[in-house]
Every structure is written in structure tokens, then in C-alpha cells.
Assembly symmetry: C2
Homo-oligomer: 222 residues x 2
DNA sequence: ATGTGTGAAGAGCTTCACAGCC
DNA sequence: GGCTGTGAAGCTCTTCACACAT
């Protein structure tokens, strides 16, 4: 056989950086840039230019020598690669502080992800408008999730309410959940749950923003 | 010389996992566990036991052979390593949805990080209690930051207000900022700023909770 | 028997350096 | 000259496997 196909896995670090590139490219596009070089992008993202070229090379020969990369093509590629497609329908359950923050953000930035429904069980919240969506009654969760064809749920409810919500979502056909409730949910099989401990995530960000030179090297007995 | 010291850098991946361990260990401690083996911890964190042992070994010989690791000692070690010390004083500026969510979380979980002051410029918000703190007038930011000895600021204000707040914080002696405002802040020298695009962070979490088997391998022309 | 600590092997990722194209 | 694409080298992190401690 003449054509010898090589299969090459995409490093997960590459996937991680795709998010960073996307953010930078959205800005570049807004500022009217048609093309960008790996050097320019490297400066913005604080990375080495060659890793950017290597990263993009996993997805084809996207650049033009002597010119650079087309900003819009890159955005298109990353959008499809990261499933930033607005076609993926997401519901938020629990319209407390976190729920509201997410809804507000989702409305502003259609680039990232799209929330199409909001639920809460508190009578005072039901019917109210938040971030362009009307809060629906959580008791109708299963039915609404089915009719709307929702694929993912974001849990921002108190711990006590979480198991019930997970069950309703599962019955409604949802296969992935991102939960802000303290972990250890009894997860139905074939349901993919990621638990986020907001305080840990904050601690993580804070740690990196402290710029700890202390952690570069450390003594150890021989 | 008899004692030959070896210096070994701590991988940044190790630091990243420390947050994961911490979260698991807090749970284990609450459930009354005195010790934990690398095997048990590996199961909880979905990791290989040997990497856990290697990770901990960077910080000394913390375990007992045949027994395991002492949960409290590990917590103590990680807490100091990650500067989860409540001594680090943090102020939140901007008491919108994100600000409120952070304050609420900080109050519930003193494990992670400690927010000691909240500021906003809106008259309706000033004086109100949120998550145990009274919202103060943002015009007094510089002075209050100085007197309280605040080391870090979390920006959760609209883009337009951000530059002014950064300036006030800098004048007050703050050296690190975590910003939720859209990036490109004119950062004063020796000020460490991390910009968080909430929608990107969400997209990242969503991506991983989708369980994308698609991304494991990919064809490329030879 | 149980479970740590760690050198050595292995896997994976990044950087270099340069051929090739605009 | 400017810039990409990519083998090869270099580096870092992970896994293995087993000596050693309780």
C-alpha cells in the first residue's frame, strides 16, 4: 500500500490549550484581525510559538507559510473540536447565586455554551426572568427536559435536593451533569457526572494568581 | 561531605493534584477516618496509587509502611503547601451574581479560602449583609484595603469599572488580583493578575463532563 | 500480610532547528 | 524576509516493580 496512515493521539494538554486559544482568537477577531501568526498568538497566550504550531498541526495544515493562520478558520475548527456548538442544549437547575451567575454569563457570551432552560422549586422564583430565560417549575423537570431535548444539566441546588434532581434528569434522558452540589451523588449508570467544588476551584485560581516562586524547587534528603 | 543533598523540583501536575487530594481528605476526615492508604485515595480520586505515593514523597516521608497516611497530617501539609491558610486576606469587589456566589461559598467552607471584606459602589448594596459580611463603599477601597491588610482582590465588577478598582487595589498594596472582568486590564508592574473567562471555564468543565471518547485518537496523513 | 518509598523504565509532551513555501 | 510544519532531541511526568518497614 502506498498511503501509510499514521494515527496520532491528540495530547490532552493540547485540548486544554484550545480553550485558551479560543478566548484569544475571539478577541483578535473582534479587533478585526484576519490572520494571526503563531508568534503573535504565543505572545497573547504566554506560550512558546512552536507548541502552538504543533497543536494546530493535529487538526490539519491550517496555516499558510509566510502569512500565518486565518483567525476565522481557527475559530471554526476549535468550536467544532470543543463542541462549543450552540446546538448542545443545557439546563440549569437551582437559581441561587451560582445559577444566576451562570445564566447572566451565558446570555452575554453566546460563544461558549448555551443554556436553554432554568428550573427551581421555590414558588417565588418560578416565573421570574433571569438572564433572558423564564424560571420553570422543577417538578416539571423530567417532562420539559424530554420535550426540549436537553442533553446536559447543571446542578446548582442545595445538597439535599440533588439526588431527586439527578433522578429526574436521568429519567428525562440527560447523560451528563455538572454539579456544584457537594459530591457523592448516587450516579445512575451511563450518566456522566462531574462535581465541582467551587471553593477548591477558587483556591486553585488564587494559588496560581499568587505567583508562588517558592514552589519551583525544594530540598530533599539524599 | 557525608550528606549529599538532592534538590528536586515539584512537578506542577503534583501541585494540581494536591487540590484534588485535599477535597477527598476533607471528606475522609469528616467521615472519621484517621488514616488512608494510597490505594483508597487512588480509588476516590480516580488515580494510580503510585502517583499518589510519589506526590506525597516530595514533601517528606509522610506515610507508615503497612498502615498508610495520617489524614490530618496530610491535610496540614497540603494546607500549608497550597496556602489555604485563612491568614491570607481576600476582598471581593463587586457584589453582583458572581460576587454573591463567592461570598456565600466562602462562608460555608472555611477550608478553602477566606474572604474578609466585600465592596460595591451601588448605594442599594452598601451596608447590606452578604454571606456574613457587610458590603462596604467601594470609594473607601484603598484605605480599607490598607487598614485590613488585604493581600488579594477578586474583581467581579463590570468591565467599565475594572481599571479604577485595579488602581485602588494597587495603591492599597494588593499584589494579586483574580478578575472575572473581560481581560486586557492595564496591569501595574509587580501586580499579578489572572483573568477568568467564566464562560470558557464552564465550557471546559462541560467538555470534560461530556466524556468525549472521540478525542482519544485521530487520523493523520503520513 | 499490608502498604510505603523510590530508582529505573517507559510514556508523553515540549522545544529545537531547519526544510519548505509564500 | 516571514512563517508554517515536523522529525528528532530533550525534558518531564507516570508507571512499574520491588526492597523495606510495620
Amino acid at each position: 500500500m502506498k498511503y501509510n496512515m499514521k494515527y496520532k493521539a491528540i495530547p490532552k494538554e493540547t485540548i486544554g490549550r484550545l480553550f485558551t486559544y479560543f478566548r484569544a482568537l475571539v478577541c483578535l477577531s473582534r479587533e478585526g484581525n484576519k490572520t494571526v501568526s503563531s508568534y503573535k498568538l504565543a505572545e497573547i497566550c504566554q506560550l512558546n510559538p512552536s507548541i502552538i504550531r504543533k497543536d494546530f498541526s493535529y487538526f490539519g495544515e491550517l496555516g499558510k507559510r509566510g502569512v500565518g493562520y486565518n483567525v476565522e478558520s481557527l475559530l471554526l475548527m476549535i468550536r467544532s473540536e470543543l463542541k462549543l456548538d450552540p446546538a448542545i442544549k443545557i439546563a440549569v437547575v437551582g437559581i441561587g447565586n451560582i445559577g444566576k451567575a451562570l445564566l447572566a454569563y451565558s446570555g452575554f457570551k453566546p460563544d461558549g455554551f448555551r443554556i436553554v432552560a432554568a428550573f427551581d422549586s421555590h414558588p417565588k422564583k418560578i416565573g421570574k426572568k433571569v438572564g433572558g430565560l423564564t424560571v420553570e417549575n422543577a417538578s416539571k423537570l423530567e417532562k420539559r427536559v424530554k420535550t426540549l431535548g436537553i442533553q446536559m444539566g447543571i446542578l446548582a441546588v442545595p445538597e439535599s435536593a440533588a439526588p431527586q434532581v439527578v433522578l429526574s434528569l436521568a429519567k428525562g434522558g440527560v447523560k451528563a451533569i455538572l454539579s456544584f452540589a457537594p459530591c457523592q451523588l448516587t450516579t445512575p449508570k451511563d450518566m456522566n457526572v462531574i462535581c465541582v467544588d467551587l471553593s477548591m476551584e477558587m483556591a486553585r485560581l488564587l494559588y496560581y494568581s499568587m505567583g508562588q516562586k517558592l514552589h519551583k524547587a525544594r530540598a530533599r534528603k539524599s
